[in-house]
């Protein structure tokens, strides 16, 4: 028996709607943004909210609303890219270690323990700082420091599934490793991966924003929520909207995506129906 989309709690539905609309904003940015987010206008610096500029303008006279909308683009794209890379590394190493065991597993576990033993944020900053300044350094820095936890969860799932009777059954039917991995292990860890991926998108957004805030991520003048918060540092006492708008964006998106992860978890797991319960 599976839970259907319509049966989800309304909070989950709301979260999915929020996430989808942020993604929609990001995709449709050129059409919905009222101004060019990079258009500097000296006449209009540091304006408060008005009919012309709904959220006001920043220190260079750029329209804040347009920058928030375009910022969704950069931030979400980075978050998704980082999460996908993390997943790729984490899942492949997790499956390799969990399924094959032995020396492979021990080497990978050793690496995982090393990475998890280091302070994540400091490592991320250090890696981003030594890499040449381009947009990929952010992806590399976050991926390298966050795949370990991912692979550990995947590994334990793979070990659990490997011990299930149905895997032993198909093995004794004569299936090879490739078949078992493709038809048995992967489909059965897919729900876990899906949930982890969505949660990871949320944390990636936070990490990427943090790095951008420190000037180690997306470089200005790009419209990015982290960069925007960084730019607003000096002005936010008089112009709180400057920091609130991108901040709310980050909060809404990461909260939404976390709840979406929980919703996915409900949707993808197979529950025993009452018709089959031991009575």
């Amino acid at each position: 028996m599976r839970t259907k989309l319509g049966q989800l709690h309304y909070i989950y539905k709301l979260a999915i709607i929020v996430v989808l609309s942020i993604i929609l904003c990001a995709v449709l940015a050129p059409w919905i943004a009222p101004y060019d987010p990079y258009q500097v206008s000296i006449d209009e610096i540091l304006q408060h909210c008005s009919a012309k500029h709904w959220l006001g303008t920043d220190a260079l006279g750029r329209d804040l609303l347009s920058r928030v909308i375009y910022g969704a683009r950069t931030s979400v794209a980075f978050a998704v890219a980082v999460a996908l890379c993390t997943m790729l590394v984490g899942v492949s190493l997790g499956i390799a270690g969990g399924y094959f065991g032995g020396i492979t597993d021990r080497v990978i576990q050793c690496l995982v323990s090393m990475i998890q033993g280091l302070p994540g944020m400091s490592m991320m900053i250090a890696i981003a700082a030594v890499l040449p300044e381009n947009d990929f350094r952010l992806i590399i820095a976050v991926t390298l420091t966050s795949w370990a936890g991912f692979s550990r969860i995947v590994r334990s799932e793979v070990i659990r599934i490997k011990g299930e009777t149905y895997v032993e059954g198909i093995k004794s039917l004569g299936a090879g490793n490739r078949y078992i991995l493709k038809e048995y292990v992967f489909p059965n860890i897919l729900p876990v991966i899906a949930v982890l991926l969505t949660l990871r998108i949320g944390t990636s957004l936070l990490s990427a924003s943090a790095l951008s805030y420190l000037g180690l991520g997306v470089s200005p003048p790009a419209a990015d929520w982290g960069v925007m918060i960084s730019d607003a540092r000096t002005y936010f006492r008089s112009y709180p909207v400057m920091i609130l708008a991108p901040g709310i964006g980050i909060t809404l998106f990461s909260l939404g995506i976390n709840l979406t992860g929980d919703a996915l978890c409900e949707l993808l797991s197979i529950k025993k129906g009452p018709e089959n319960k031991e009575m």
Binding site: Y166, S172, A175, G176, N188
Partner: protein, 264 residues
């Protein structure tokens, strides 16, 4: 085909010789736990051989060793002249065709994300059998006394008895010569157990598949087996024809076991 003097000659389909297995436990103080101790016996072509013993006597481990689902420390397991323990992974996969195993817990014996139809077709896919084998599935369902509409359901929608029969049917597509049963009915009700045993009997009428039947239920083994082996703490105490075992058990443990069964 040669007839050896017109006499019925019994052939060993599987011979297990001096199989030993132990586990090491403990992190600092290593302890060795012996699971199987010098097990030697033959399974004759066409017979039903039962293995019994208390829980933890190593009977399940033994057949898992024969299937090579768990490694063996020493000994040989010979089937048709080849030592199964020496086979490479590729040859082992080929050898699986002739030897199949049915597991104890039907509730987790099929991939929960595949329909029954997909699960049934798997042996054909794995061993690249001709497409025509797919057409055998309806016939097998009939033999298993299962309804056709089960095919498009998922495992969690079926009862334990139905699942165990599906698992059995899936193995039979490969036409194995040796079937290993690991407590196949201990999680099921007696009426369902009787049904599965009846099906097994019908199958054996059609073609004489050899069966190695592990169970702790002596009454069940008595009803279905030709010979029964008794295991205790990793040792095979005795292996006798059923009548002989129940009338003249040679070991004290066997006597205790039979008594525990008869007058409980």
């Amino acid at each position: 085909m040669s007839v050896v003097g017109g006499m019925f000659r019994k052939m060993a389909i599987l011979s297990v010789k001096h199989v030993c297995k132990s586990y090491k436990t403990g992190l600092i103080k290593k302890k060795t736990k012996i699971i199987l101790q010098d097990i030697t016996f033959d399974v004759q072509e066409g017979e039903v051989l039962g293995l019994t013993g208390a829980s933890g006597s190593g009977k399940s481990t033994l057949i898992r060793c024969i299937m090579r689902l768990t490694p063996v420390d020493s000994g040989t397991i010979i089937m048709d002249g080849t030592d199964l323990l020496q086979l490479s992974p590729t040859d082992l996969r080929q050898s699986r065709k002739v030897m199949q195993m049915l597991f104890q817990n039907p509730a987790s014996a099929l991939n929960p994300r595949k329909t029954i139809r997909e699960s049934l077709a798997e042996p054909i896919l794995i061993h690249q059998l001709p497409e025509a084998t797919l057409k055998e599935i309806p016939g097998i369902l009939d033999m298993l006394q299962l309804k056709k509409d089960l095919l498009d359901r998922y495992p969690h929608q079926l009862s334990g008895g139905e699942l165990q029969r599906i698992c059995l049917g899936r193995l039979l597509l490969l036409r194995p010569r040796l079937l290993l049963l690991d407590e196949p009915t201990s999680m099921l009700d007696v009426s369902v157990q009787a049904q599965i045993i009846e099906i097994m009997r019908n199958i054996r009428k059609e073609y004489p598949i050899t069966v190695l039947f592990v169970s702790h239920d002596l009454a069940l083994l008595k009803a279905v087996c030709d010979r029964i082996g008794v295991m205790e703490q990793g040792k095979l105490l005795e292996l006798q024809p059923v009548e002989e075992l129940f009338q003249h058990p040679s070991e004290q443990y066997t006597r205790d076991l039979i008594r525990a069964f008869n007058d409980f």
